[in-house]
């Protein structure tokens, strides 16, 4: 079932201000080939970020149009944020620690963040 929410934890941030916040399609934040990280979300409501990819790193392979964010639809936000949906490819070895296959998952933009910059520590 699509109820992937937990009882506690971090929810999605509200829609960003500016273009896209009021239902007009925003530009795409990520490009094919870009490495992204799925936020370690655990909202108290329905979401479409499957648990098995949360917190994992993947590569954007395709952009699949702009769709209403399901978290907004289910919580009754009017209008729901319209966001790009990406096909993000994960390696099985990264997800499960085994396997030579890949898994490609469709994820709304709000579920993703850029790869943190490397080498910025002391």
């Amino acid at each position: 079932m699509k109820d992937e929410g937990g009882a506690t934890g971090r929810a999605l941030e509200p829609p960003r201000s500016g273009p896209g916040a009021e239902g007009s399609p925003p530009g795409e934040r990520f490009r094919p080939g870009e490495t992204v990280v799925v936020k370690a979300l655990d909202p108290p409501h329905h979401t479409r970020a499957p648990r098995y990819v949360r917190g994992h790193r993947g590569v954007v392979v395709e952009v699949h149009g702009v769709h209403p964010r399901p978290d907004d639809v289910v919580t009754g936000a009017h209008p729901p944020a319209m966001e790009p949906v990406y096909a993000v490819r994960f390696s099985a070895a990264d997800l499960w620690g085994e396997g030579d296959h890949s898994v490609t998952v469709n994820l709304w933009e709000a579920y993703l963040e850029p790869l943190p910059l490397q080498g910025t520590g002391p």
């Binding site: 149009g65 396997g99 898994v103 490609t104």
Partner: protein
């Protein structure tokens, strides 16, 4: 507004229906009361699916791709537009869906799942098989696809890359299997007869 009398989820013999059917009917009532969808819309969608949705549709699309190189390219680039050439539509549901068609090659095998429920291109594949909706398939095929495919009788050599596609949003995936060897002289209709629903999902070779 009057809500039409609904019969789905109710058994024709008058016996109490199952827990699942009661739950489904209650959900429909809530969706109707909230104004998300009307009973008439649900009925129209189900009637249309039951009348026209079948795996023979997907098989026709695959057979055309096997015999028509131009169509094959269009299908892989824009599934919605290509299947419309054959009179099929992905717009039968509440909202139109993006159709992404992925092709098997000698070095690549694709397999489709919906880990969150059981999404797939209904219009082209018909109602989903029970195994596709099972927790066992949904949880295992993303983790150990080669093992699951073996259980379906499909052995993939180690050099064949396996790509699993999880239909977790509004995109629906369909697989174009490899055209079997020795079918060079076959007509398009006969080729379509070779293609199975499992082949269109990726759990069979064709």
């Amino acid at each position: 507004m009057s809500v039409p009398t609904r019969s789905r989820g109710q058994r024709e013999d008058g016996h109490p229906d199952s827990r699942l059917a009661r739950r489904q009917r209650r959900l429909e009532e809530l969706l109707e009361a909230a104004g998300v969808v009307t009973g008439a819309e649900l009925d129209a969608i189900l009637d249309r699916y039951l009348a026209t949705a079948k795996p023979a549709n997907g098989a026709r699309v695959v057979a055309r791709a096997w015999v028509d190189e131009g169509f094959r390219h269009r299908l892989l680039a824009d599934g919605n537009a290509a299947v419309a050439e054959l009179g099929f539509s992905m717009g039968g549901g509440i909202q139109p869906q993006l159709l992404r068609v992925v092709e098997n090659t000698p070095r690549l095998h694709n397999v489709v799942v919906c880990t969150l429920c059981s999404c797939y291109p209904l219009a082209l594949l018909g109602p989903s098989p029970s195994w596709y909706r099972s927790e066992a398939y949904r949880s295992r095929v993303v983790r150990r696809p080669r093992e699951v495919l073996e259980e379906f009788g499909l052995h993939l050599p180690g050099h064949v890359e396996v790509r699993v596609w999880d239909a977790s949003a509004e995109t629906r995936y369909m697989v174009v299997p490899r055209r079997p060897a020795g079918t060079e002289g076959m007509a398009e209709d006969a080729l379509a007869g070779l293609v199975t629903r499992r082949g269109l999902i990726g759990t069979a070779a064709v």
